[in-house]
Amino acid sequence: MSGFGNAFSSSIGKKFIMGITGLFLILFLIVHCGINALIFLDDDGLKFNIGAHFMATNWIIRAGEYVLFISLLVHIFQALRLTLQNQKARPVKYAVNDGQANSKWYSRSMGLLGTLLLIFLVVHLKDFWVVSRFTGIPTIDANGNENLYGVMKEKFQDPVRVAVYILAMVSLCYHLLHGFASAFQTMGWNHSKYNGIIKNVGVWYSIIISLLFAAMPIAVYAGLIK
């Protein structure tokens, strides 16, 4: 008989799941952002297409894709469950509640920011993932690789889409600003010698990742890169 009991169903256990999946998604963003940043090499997307081809064909990456989608779904459903429970924990709301006196607005708005990101994800997956996995990338580049960069160039001619992507990256930045350090706190990784490092790395990570991602549609739309 397993002795794990309510390890994952208790309030703290549910938070462990949020933290673990969140940290995995944070690691994923580094890989995603790193490969996408190859477009800034200004080589008409040749290196980027090599990266994209590797990500699409390597079996470890493909297996990791399943882990990624599972993490994402678990993160979303667990957040929904926790939010519903939290709402039940305060059935009568305060007439006056001065939240900004004691906490950051984005810490209190993770659900809203997450929902915005989820809406963005639907758009984003339709724009690129569905094309590369199912409907097919229409052109090939000079190396003979599928030209995902070409798809990117085409999609980001639309200023509305560019605006949606930028707004989503603002949401992402604030979501990460809370989520990064929060995941460490939830896992119990709080230590006076490392707290400052965790906090600073979290802030820089959130800003750099979001800025780099936001720079991609802007650079393509403005024709700053070939």
């Binding site: 939290n86 924990a89 906490s103």
Partner: protein, 256 residues
């Protein structure tokens, strides 16, 4: 800050009992001394209400010197009012201005049902403590203190956790009505000391299970509890509890 006496408008939550709905009721108060405590201001209001033949406002209070944890008012959107590190009884009217409107509500949480007006039932906290917030020792003579050397840092951290007066401001201010700061302080004050070790992993599991059973919300690390705690209980305690909980569930071979 006011120097002369003040005229105030109070919006106070009045609720007959847990079965009925409550509402904010307006009261005008004149000539309030800035040197009064917030509770003394309520005493003035209640005397006026009694003289008019109305029901006085029911609120919790006991020591009125900031150490018992009984007073519990949510003032202008913050537990224990606008000042840091004070309880409602230690809040003085000089922290408000002449002509201010002050909204006073009870702690709001499913686990803290309203008894009447501003008084809520906080016995959920007692049941969390009863689930494991103690050490089991045989009675007898106290041991020589030098038998149990405790590093100074450890002793200080335990003492800081033990400063929790169990007022429930953490639950009241948390957007999720989570009791993590209270429970973690009560776990930490024992987990940090040698006397707390034998039951350390049993305790964290029992107390967290009771906390969940009482219907408190889940922590989302907003830090509001730490910011509003009148005793400055640190979020480190929550991390320690989470760590102990993980150790208990995944490493300890003892099951509860």
């Amino acid at each position: 800050m006011s120097t002369g006496n003040m005229n105030l408008t109070l919006k106070v939550w009045r609720q007959k009992n847990n079965k009925t709905k409550g509402a904010l009721v307006d009261y005008k108060l004149a000539d309030i001394s800035p040197d009064m405590s917030f509770l003394e201001m309520f005493d003035v209001l209640n005397e006026q209400l009694i003289n008019k033949g109305e029901e006085p406002v029911v609120f919790d209070h006991d020591c009125r010197e900031g150490i018992c944890g009984m007073c519990s008012m949510f003032i202008n959107g913050r537990p224990h009012g606008p000042k840091d590190l004070v309880t409602t009884c230690q809040l003085h009217m000089r922290s408000f201005k002449d002509g201010d409107t002050i909204v006073v509500e009870p702690w709001r949480a499913a686990a803290f049902p309203v008894v009447k007006d501003l008084t809520v039932d906080r016995s959920a906290f007692d049941r969390v403590i009863a689930a494991g917030g103690f050490i089991s020792v045989n009675t007898g003579n106290a041991q020589d203190a030098n038998n149990l050397p405790i590093p100074k840092m450890q002793a200080d951290a335990a003492f800081e956790a033990a400063a929790c007066i169990g007022c429930g401001a953490c639950v009241a201010t948390c957007k999720n009505a989570s009791a993590m700061l209270f429970v973690s302080a009560k776990i930490s004050q024992l987990a940090l000391l040698p006397q707390g070790q034998p039951e350390r992993y049993r305790r964290v599991q029992s107390m967290v299970a009771q906390m969940d059973a009482e219907g408190f919300g889940n922590c989302t690390n907003t830090g509001a509890c730490e910011a509003e705690c009148p005793k400055g209980i640190s979020l480190e305690n929550i991390a320690r509890m989470n760590r102990d909980f993980a150790s208990a569930k995944f490493i300890s071979e003892e099951t509860v």
